[in-house]
Symmetry: C2
Subunit: 100 residues, 2 copies
């Protein structure tokens, strides 16, 4: 099972971020192929870091090959192209990790 | 679904860390009640951060109440007490996030 974990720190404007994220970005992300499961989580508590984590999204794939294939798709490009619309409400882009 | 995400940066001694983590710490962690699913992942790639992420463990629980109950258990205390044995191979303790 491979995962992509996307970690957003607290937005400059949480209301506008949430609105764009849940209404526009998540639906675009859900069009990406090969995703077995996706979950969007509020961060309740964080320890041992200065990061002000706010929201973490976990995307699950059968394996790393399926994940890489997914992110080479036109649907992934469309979701990435929406990034700047979202990033305007953030101080910095989200931390993205790919896990095998 | 609530999750605990534990993020380890690259250890000072990866071999000794891995040995202790997989042989001692993970089996202790698996005794903690209420865990629906656990997964330990190697970090393949990281973007938009200076963190040198190495290993990420995700623990899943039915809900936040079950998660908090789990971490108040004697089994969780035992796993926590093993922390220092593991941390000797790290520059800093892992980032821990609790997600709802």
């Amino acid at each position: 099972m491979a995962k992509m974990v996307i970690m957003y720190e607290k937005p400059k404007d949480t209301e506008k971020f949430d609105e764009h994220y849940f209404n526009i970005h998540v639906p675009l992300g859900r069009k990406i192929p090969n995703i077995i499961k996706d979950s969007v989580h509020r961060v309740v508590d964080t320890q041992n870091t200065d990061l002000n984590l706010y929201l973490i999204t976990v995307l699950e794939f059968e394996n790393l090959e399926k994940l890489l294939e997914a992110f080479a798709s036109p649907e992934a490009r469309q979701a990435e192209e929406d990034g700047p619309n979202l990033f305007q409400y953030l101080d910095k882009p989200p931390i993205i990790t790919i896990l095998d």
